[in-house]
């Protein structure tokens, strides 16, 4: 069992943009999903957790260690797996070459053990049949899995995955969910995503970030319950609804405080998330 991650009053500013503003939360063992619209600060937060970026203020404790200390940061990096939002690949590298390259950076100096480990993670992400192929010849989904394999090298205690399901087809996403849920046993995994289905299927906890602030932290069912009694169908867009959209059967799904007499339907995680973020945006605008 790992010691998880504690983030206290974390702030980060880029020029005029306040990317993170006093973020505090705790991540235990299991998968924690980070939800939020574009520009919410998810990637900044994950880059800080991956020790790539230093915060302006606040404190981070990962696996009982502080990344602010040079030596402890090295120890964290030895136990960390990171999948960046936009992983880059060396031109001309094959899948095997790239993962072997990352394994060298992860201080795996014994060539035999390193190559065995590289083969293990390639098999884990189901890329053995293309391990000798150049990465630039692969599909977006396969490239994503290549980067995921690199993150899984050395069986890390803490995994940071930035939008890992972007570009994956439904079958690959299913395979990915299986992989991540296995990875989440006995270790902390933080993943950011736009897909509320991934959070519902995978995560024990969910954190909603909006404009650099935490709007919610709890279980997926608690986030779903946030919209309990606030979802109803109507033939027309209801002017009293905070959010509404036309569904496939031609009716409108309305979110907000329902008018008297309408029958509320069971909410989904997406309803809870949209309502929460929509209300937060209204509050900020006001």
């Amino acid at each position: 069992m790992s010691q998880g991650v504690n983030v206290t009053e974390l702030s980060k500013r880029f020029a005029r943009t306040q990317a993170l503003d006093g973020v505090t939360f705790r991540v235990g063992d299991g998968v924690t999903g980070l939800l939020g619209p574009n520009g919410a600060g998810k990637t900044t937060l994950l880059r800080i957790l991956a020790t790539v970026l230093a915060p302006d203020s606040g404190e981070v404790q990962m696996l009982g260690l502080s990344p602010a200390d040079v030596r402890e940061r090295q120890q964290i990096r030895r136990r960390l797996g990171y999948l960046p939002q936009d992983p880059g690949f060396q031109r001309g590298f094959s899948v095997f070459d790239f993962i072997d390259y990352v394994a060298i950076l992860k201080e795996m100096s014994n060539r035999k053990q390193r190559r065995d480990e590289v083969r293990r993670v390639i098999e884990l992400v189901d890329l053995t049949s293309v391990s000798g192929k150049r990465i630039r010849a692969l599909s977006g989904g396969m490239r994503r899995r290549t980067a995921l394999a690199a993150a899984l090298l050395g069986d890390p205690d803490f995994l940071v995955l930035d939008e890992p399901t972007a570009g994956l087809d439904p079958e690959q996403r299913l395979r990915f969910r299986e992989l991540v849920s296995l990875a989440g046993e006995g270790r902390a995994v933080v993943l950011s995503t736009h897909q509320t289905e991934d959070v519902a299927a995978l995560c024990r906890d969910v954190v909603v970030l909006h404009q650099g602030r935490i709007q919610f932290q709890g279980s997926p069912s608690e986030l779903t319950n946030y919209a309990a009694g606030k979802v109803w169908f109507a033939e027309q867009r209801d002017p009293r609804a905070n959010l509404a959209w036309r569904t496939g059967d031609g009716r409108y799904r309305n979110l907000g405080d329902p008018p008297a007499g309408v029958e509320a339907v069971d909410p989904t995680l997406e309803d809870g998330y949209l309502l929460l973020v929509g209300l937060a945006a209204e509050e900020l605008a006001a």
Partner: protein
């Protein structure tokens, strides 16, 4: 069947001591004989170890990473294979980069044979090209795996310095080869010390800003400093004369002392993105 594989023959086959024709006979026979096939199963430790060894060899051959020309060159220069791989992945050690560098310095030196003013252009360009090469060796804008590298335990400062040395060695060598064709002997060497000074300042600036940006800042400042001289019918000796060479030595030494001296905070080189 007229014959069967004897236990001695089976053992010899398993340990690889059976000669070609006899081994082929055994292989042809066991295709049809279940009884003899059981004799050849890897039942002892020797056979299992040999099998594992052969399998490892096959896997190693199949998964052999592609080795680039630069990587081969580094390994030839006794750089350990793992570090050669990390160095050869520097953007400014890719073949396309080196061809571009050679084209610029080679082209300018050839033009200097036709017109003297290109000798000055060569000497002005050469230090800037060294800075650009070093700045492109590692950083958020040109190294595709920069973000991932930063999250690994491999010391960033070590990688930065190793790549700087490797890139400078190749880049200086190519520039020096082109400089040999210059007819002005002073011009052929006048670029070297300013190059080292500018690279040192770039590395020093990388303590506070990322290397790509540091290189850009140094190049802009350097161009600003030499541009006015270029418009005033300057010569190589008037711009890169003795005082400038002495100043270059002083700058290199001071930067070297700050970067590698006893009070150097090497681990503190900032790697902003």
């Amino acid at each position: 069947m007229s014959w069967h594989v004897s236990p001695e023959m089976a053992t010899s086959y398993r340990v690889g001591e059976l000669a070609g024709a006899r081994a082929a006979s055994v292989e042809a026979h066991v295709m049809a004989c279940e009884l003899c096939r059981t004799l050849l199963r890897p039942s002892d430790t020797v056979a299992l170890e040999r099998l594992a060894m052969i399998w490892d060899g096959v896997e190693d051959q199949v998964d052999q990473p592609r080795i680039t020309f630069i990587e081969r060159l580094l390994i030839f220069c006794r750089v350990p294979a793992d570090e050669a791989r990390l160095l050869a992945s520097a953007p400014s050690l890719q073949l396309s980069w080196l061809v571009a560098l050679l084209s610029v310095v080679g082209g300018t030196s050839l033009l200097s044979q036709q017109a003297d003013r290109f000798t000055l252009v060569f000497v002005v360009l050469a230090p800037m090209l060294q800075v650009v090469s070093v700045a492109a060796a590692y950083g958020p804008h040109l190294d595709p795996t920069y973000e991932l590298t930063r999250s690994t335990p491999y010391p960033t400062t070590r990688l930065l310095m190793l790549r700087t040395v490797a890139v400078l060695a190749v880049s200086l060598l190519l520039t020096a080869a082109a400089a040999l064709t210059l007819t002005d002997e002073w011009a052929a060497v006048a670029w070297l010390l300013p190059s080292l000074a500018l690279v040192s300042v770039t590395l020093l600036l990388a303590k506070w800003i990322d290397l790509n940006l540091a290189g850009s800042v140094v190049c802009v400042a350097y161009l600003f400093a030499v541009t006015s001289a270029l418009f005033n019918d300057a010569t190589v000796r008037s711009i890169f004369g003795g005082p400038v060479q002495l100043a270059a030595i002083a700058v290199t030494l001071v930067c070297g002392l700050v970067l590698f001296g006893p009070n150097a905070e090497r681990a503190q080189i900032r790697r902003r993105s």
